[in-house]
């Protein structure tokens, strides 16, 4: 969870390029005039099941879009449909406004970096990176120059002659990236780009990738099941569910306002319950919770982010539990605590209602079996559609 939050914070603070030089990012996709990539009601079926179900999506030039979703949600099918590796059963794929129906993969001018890299085993690093330019009939000199330039760019200068089998996972990933960039595709697609790498490498590479794409002005459509990766990489996140788009927005928007319970749970939020909002408060099993101003009135599902669950030492066991609720504090038993580095994640069993996830500082963390009193911060309470 920290990773994600860190990424979101970085996003809002240290990443001015995306927001300032490219105001279109903040606009709704439908409002964009000419998208580089546009999907219209794109549908792909495997037998009876629709892997892509009438998906509409637009990606503007220079934009980095992450498609996020659990496995089987249709993310990879989306990439394959855009690349032309899987024909559409209905709908259209447009690149620069041109319908791609009947255009074979090698004439679409898009790049695809495969999940497990798929480097050509019988060629060395230079042969792999130079493959695309060679297919596009670039003269040898220009090709070699381009290969050297790209290897420099991905941090493997002079690696042309190395065998791909001798590369580490991270190096393979860099070569695959250089290979995908070499033919200068108008759209670069990444399928689980960092999927098989270990965690520390992944966290470093995702920052590098974002900086690199920003410098090159590459338009990127990346697919991942890891929200930390998606949030750290993308200007805009698209959450998919069962072949349809569940939500799209900036990482911050999606994080702060999940469109529905599915998205919220996919992001790792589990403290969700039924509620009725009236005025500035919501009535739930956990008691009456304050909600932020502007929250829609009426019944809804209510999400409390772990940061909004505030713990304090429980008062001595009250003779009547109902009175505790009236005071606004909810008595909970601590059933589990997990050390997460900077903070401790605490699982609570309230005296009524579903379990709650809380986050607190290491020093203030209660022990398992303790009883604590819980109050809620309205900034971290979100109403989801019922």
């Amino acid at each position: 969870m920290t990773e994600i939050r860190k990424a979101v914070t970085e996003m809002t603070t240290t990443n001015p390029t995306a927001d300032q030089t490219n105001p279109t990012h903040m606009a709704k996709p439908s409002a964009m005039g000419s998208a580089l990539l546009r999907l219209e009601a794109a549908t792909v079926r495997y037998g009876e099941r629709a892997a892509l179900d009438a998906v509409d999506l637009a990606v503007a030039e220079h934009e980095i879009v992450s498609v996020l979703g659990p496995s089987g949600s249709g993310k990879s099918t989306l990439l394959r449909a855009v690349a032309g590796l899987r024909p559409l059963d209905a709908g259209r794929v447009l690149l620069d406004g041109a319908d791609q129906r009947g255009v074979p993969p090698h004439r679409r001018g898009v790049g695809l970096m495969f999940q497990d890299h798929q480097l050509f085993p019988q060629r060395d690093v230079g042969g792999n990176v130079g493959f695309g330019p060679r297919m596009h009939k670039a003269p040898r000199e220009q090709r070699e120059h381009r290969v050297a330039e790209l290897l420099e760019l991905v941090g493997l200068p002079g690696a042309q002659g190395r065998a791909v089998a001798a590369l580490s996972g991270g190096e393979q990933q860099r070569v695959a990236l250089a290979r995908a960039l070499a033919p200068e595709p108008r759209l670069l697609m990444l399928d689980e780009p960092l999927g098989q790498l270990d965690r520390s490498l992944r966290e470093r590479l995702v920052v590098e990738l974002r900086q690199l794409f920003g410098r090159l002005g590459t338009t990127v459509l990346a697919v991942t099941h890891d929200q930390g990766e998606a949030f750290a990489l993308a200007d805009r996140v698209v959450v998919m569910r069962d072949g349809t788009i569940a939500q799209t927005g900036t990482p911050l928007e999606v994080w702060q306002h999940p469109a529905d319970e599915f998205v919220a749970r996919f992001l790792g939020f589990d403290s969700i319950t039924d509620a009725v909002v009236a005025g500035g408060a919501a009535t739930t099993e956990w008691g009456t919770l304050p909600v932020p101003p502007g929250t829609p009135q009426g019944p809804c599902r209510l999400l409390v982010r772990p940061t909004g669950v505030l713990l304090s030492a429980a008062p001595a066991p009250a003779p009547a539990p109902a009175s505790a609720a009236d005071e606004g504090a909810l008595r909970c038993e601590v059933v589990a605590r997990t050390f997460r580095g900077g903070h401790v994640a605490v699982t609570l069993r309230p005296e009524r209602g579903p379990r709650l996830e809380a986050e607190c500082a290491l020093r203030a963390a209660p022990r398992e079996g303790d009883t604590v009193a819980v109050t809620f911060d309205p900034q971290d309470v979100v109403a989801l559609p019922a």
Partner: protein, 574 residues
Amino acid sequence: MSVLRTGHGRGAGTGDRRGVQDGAARAARTRAALVRGALMALPLLFFAAFFGYPVAAIVGRGLHQGGRWQFGRVGDVLGDPAVRHVLWFTCWQAAASTALTLLLALPGAYVLARLDFPGRRLLRAVVTVPFVLPTVVAGSAFLALLGRDGFTDSLLGVRLDTSVWAILIAHVFFNYAVVVRTVGGLWAQLDPAQEEAARMLGAGRLAAWRRVTLPALLPSVAAAALMVFLFTFTSFGVIQILGGPTYSTLEVEIYRQTAEVFDLPTAAVLTLVQFAAVLAILALHGWTVRRRESALRLVDPARTAHRPGGPGERALLGAVLAVVALVVLLPLGVLVARSFDTPNGYGLAFYRALGSTDGGTFSVAPWQTVGNSLRFAAVATVIALVVGGLAAAALVRRSGRLLRGFDALLMLPLGTSAVTIGFGFLIALDKPPLDLRDSWLLVPLAQALVGAPFVVRVMLPVLRAVDDRLREAAAVLGASPWRVWREVDLPMVSRAAAIAAGFAFAVSLGEFGATVFIARPDDPTLPVAVARLLGRAGPMNYGQAMALSTVLMAVCAASLLVLENLRTPSAGEL
């Protein structure tokens, strides 16, 4: 930073376009089918013209008489006690040969797959030599070993050439490699961790083997057994030379009825019977192979081999070496020794005689048949590579019952009576547009028919092992379908193609049953010359046959040794 509520479910709506069936998916499927069809056209045409047509012609010649189909003949022929006797012998000798081969070769499969000892590669090449050796040569080798004045006769006073044992042992000699390669190829790649996992769960050494390794191996054992059964069921050259007048298989009987008795209707019925039996065997084989392909954990064979440890494994290695020495090396050795054993002591007299036409057996010197054979085999190899390569390329993407049928159909020429094919060529390909009576191409065409199935067998697993996403990666990088094939597929299959070519070459070199019919008298191939020399009396002819056989064996062994160095793990099917 302001917080925007984003739209939810943008996938909804736009129903007007959703209803329009694009048809692009269907178009792509149609295109793929067209490409497959185009690739398949040449192999289909080849097999139709040079396999289906001649076989149909000979069956028609036999059963279509007086303007009517004489299907009554089928009953008559099958009711004949002599024919029933041949059928019975064909079946039981094939079953006995298969059982004996499995018994002797399964330990060999284990030793060559799992034990690491000096000379392992050489041994693997050595046991494969007989498989590509012409049946005629093998027959003469066993005659020299077990026959009158042969090795065992002069040493022990035992003659086996009139007994069925000679046939059975010769069949083991031939098919040892089939079992070692098919079963051993898989055995070498089975993950030992599976057996270790069973051991950790409390299974004893034997129980772990029985419950984990054996079930994984069984389908490949079954596939190998069926292959051996198929080869021995249709055995011709071995029986022709070793069977004498007593023992006759279906194939030999077809030859006798066609070439000696001229009873074409009987030959046609027997051809159909053999055809049906072979189809059944191939269907069974295909079924076991498909089961073999199902979800096994395979690893690099180099990782599974270990040095023989303990008295048990050393004894096993010794026993396998002894069997190989007795069944494989001894006959070959005796053959070579006989080729030097002239009436005037050891010398090169028989080899020298190969260079002259004095013998009067041929209008050309026997030596020249080596050149003939090499030339024919080279052309046959090219044809087999083109036909088999195209068929393999078309079959890569497994789909549909029809294609699977085609897969099995490609094996059919291997099991069909070579005699029928040879004679069919003579009576079918004698009028325009396929008038090849006087063409030298007739021989390579018949040989390619036997070579092409090997090419498909060797190339298909390798082509199927190429990850489809590598092809997709190339396509996305801008390679057209043709470039994808050239840049991705070709480099990976070039080794397999070389191996396939080697097999096709060796098999063409040794083809006898069909060639004996269609080779022109003044242009015989090496195996045909050997058979003719063996058919004539006198030590000079016999010695020349042995010398010529030795030459053929040397050529086959040389090409095999080259192959062994090219061998890839995934190309070990045959």
